[in-house]
């Protein structure tokens, strides 16, 4: 099968940009990625665009150029960007085209996501009674995990403090002010045990990557980053998931675990080979759980690892070096492409103040969200 390389990445900062459309941010991120790759929009043979709020992310062509290429829009919950990436990779692997773009963009209103539960294959009473909310699910998942595996409240606050500290070193982040463990732990309770500063916020932003057949990557860059695998999985019976009125007694693996195993297998690497990690930290508890679900530790080891600073930029398991979702917020369509943007900077050695030491070679990115969809992307030099 044809190997695939990333030759350019671009990002529109994440945050709040009154008066600016998601499409405009998507076009800017794409132009930045094209500039980084040294190619013109006219050289691009296909594209995938991801968004939740924008029906037609392909409308970026109005600003980039009407070249007639196949441009397919995708939406797949919080794994939207992973879906855009994996479809772009498959298109090149199949030999259909040599060079393409994956772009994601969003512009969410302030506040928790809201929708019609019936569109999620749920009864309307589930929404009427107030169950159709994602934050309380994440709270219940970490509440049980803390009970089963001895994770403390202090650890949750420490995860968030690390995110804001890393965000302060990232000029593109939404939240760039460090917060102390005490400030985080004592902020307003949202869903016990999670406080206000332990949750990410939906916000705005865009990110894009230019991919090509690996065989031609050196025409464009001296530092291609190879896309070793990109896998999307949905929940199986037994997984404890967002938006579920019930689930069985016998608990099965999470979709993240399934996607992770498949991605490692396809990439031919294991968690011990990964040098820099991006995890879906919708909330501080999710980062803790996802460390184990992606194979970076055993359940319960997080308590010690986080206390020791293992997940800091200079630790053995650097996680969310750009501040993750907690510091960047979550424009759904762009979130996973932001993760890959950061991994590419880290692997190229261009991450500046937040550069992981020791010339990292393998990067790992995971997305997870409603209604039980996960995506994992592995890249390497």
């Amino acid at each position: 099968m044809t190997d695939v390389a990333i030759i350019g990445v671009g990002l529109h900062p994440f945050g709040r940009f009154p008066g600016k459309s998601a499409i405009a941010m998507g076009a800017e991120a794409t132009r930045a990625a094209l500039g980084d790759a040294g190619v013109q929009w006219g050289d691009v043979q296909f594209a995938f665009g991801g968004s939740y709020e924008v029906d037609n992310p392909d409308a970026v062509v109005n600003q980039l150029g009407l070249t007639g290429i196949p441009f397919t829009d995708v939406y797949n919950g919080c794994a939207t960007a992973a879906s855009a990436i994996s479809l772009a990779v498959q298109t090149i692997e199949l030999g259909a085209y040599d060079i393409g773009v994956a772009v994601g963009m969003d512009k969410h209103p302030v506040g928790a996501f809201s929708a019609d539960p019936v569109q999620y294959s749920l009864p309307s009473w589930y929404g009427e009674l107030g169950f159709f909310l994602t934050p309380k699910f994440f709270a219940m998942k970490i509440q049980r995990y803390m009970y089963d595996h001895g994770i403390s409240h202090q650890t949750l606050a420490a995860v968030a403090a690390k995110a804001y500290r890393n965000g302060a070193r990232n000029p593109n982040a939404f939240r760039r002010s460090p917060l102390s463990i005490e400030q985080i732990a004592e902020s307003r309770m949202v869903n016990d045990p999670l406080t206000q500063f332990m949750f990410c916020s939906p916000d705005e932003g865009a990110a894009a990557i230019v991919l090509c057949r690996a065989g031609i990557a050196h025409r464009y860059t001296s530092t291609p980053i190879y896309l070793r695998s990109s896998v999307v999985r949905t929940r199986r019976f037994g997984a404890f998931e967002v938006h579920t009125p019930s689930f069985p007694l016998e608990r099965g693996d999470a979709p993240t675990t399934d996607a992770s195993k498949a991605a490692y297998e396809r990439a031919g690497v294991g968690p011990e080979d990964v040098d820099v990690i991006q995890l879906q930290d919708t909330d501080a508890g999710a980062e803790v759980i996802h460390l184990a679900e992606n194979g970076f530790c055993q359940d319960g080891e997080q308590e010690r690892l986080i206390a020791e600073g293992a997940t800091e930029i200079d630790g053995p398991l650097p996680v969310n070096t750009d501040g993750g979702l907690l510091a960047n917020g979550e424009p759904i369509g762009a979130s996973g492409l932001r993760q890959v943007y950061e991994l590419v900077q880290q692997l190229r050695g261009t991450a500046g103040d937040r550069q992981v030491p020791g010339s990292p070679k393998v990067g790992y990115a995971q997305l997870y969200g409603a209604p039980g969809t996960a995506g994992v992307t592995i890249v390497s030099r």
Partner: protein, 148 residues
């Protein structure tokens, strides 16, 4: 059954004030349970799940507090930003059956805890257009004296 009461959804609960039961379904092929009832089995994928009244008692598997007013729609509770009071939500494990999401009611100053014994109760959620009480299920702690 009280004429002034209506369930929030048909086929969800029995409106028995003393011993309300939640209605789920069980797969005759593989034995899997769901709540609420549905036709297609999420485990073995065949059609033909059969409605079943679930156990009235169980234990709290996990819980949280809901400390902000859920956005409306879809939320249809009667509270306003001024009258909203935080409440508890959790998953209740019904032995030998499944775990179901529910409001947890009847807790005083002490929050719920994992492993706590609870039972299904009927609660008034809101009034409908005809002034009837819209009833739903919740789980409440089993009184010390009633405990096995």
């Amino acid at each position: 059954m009280d004429e002034h009461q209506v369930a929030i959804a048909e086929g969800l609960i029995t409106l028995d004030a003393d011993e309300p039961r939640l209605i789920g379904s069980r797969c005759p092929a593989c034995g899997a349970f769901t709540f609420p009832a549905q036709e297609g089995c999420p485990s073995c994928t065949v059609m033909g799940m059969e409605p079943v009244q679930l156990s009235r008692t169980g234990t709290i598997w996990t819980w949280t507090s809901q400390e902000f007013l859920p956005p409306s729609p879809p939320y249809s509770g009667p509270e306003t930003a001024e009258t909203f009071a935080p409440y508890y939500v959790g998953f209740v494990e019904l032995e030998g059956e499944l775990r179901i999401e529910s409001r947890l009611v009847g807790f005083g100053d002490e929050p719920p805890h994992i492993g706590q014994r609870v039972e299904a109760v009927l609660v008034r959620f809101r009034a409908d257009e005809e002034g009837r009480d819209v009833m739903t299920y919740a789980f409440a702690p089993i009184e010390e004296s009633a405990r096995d």
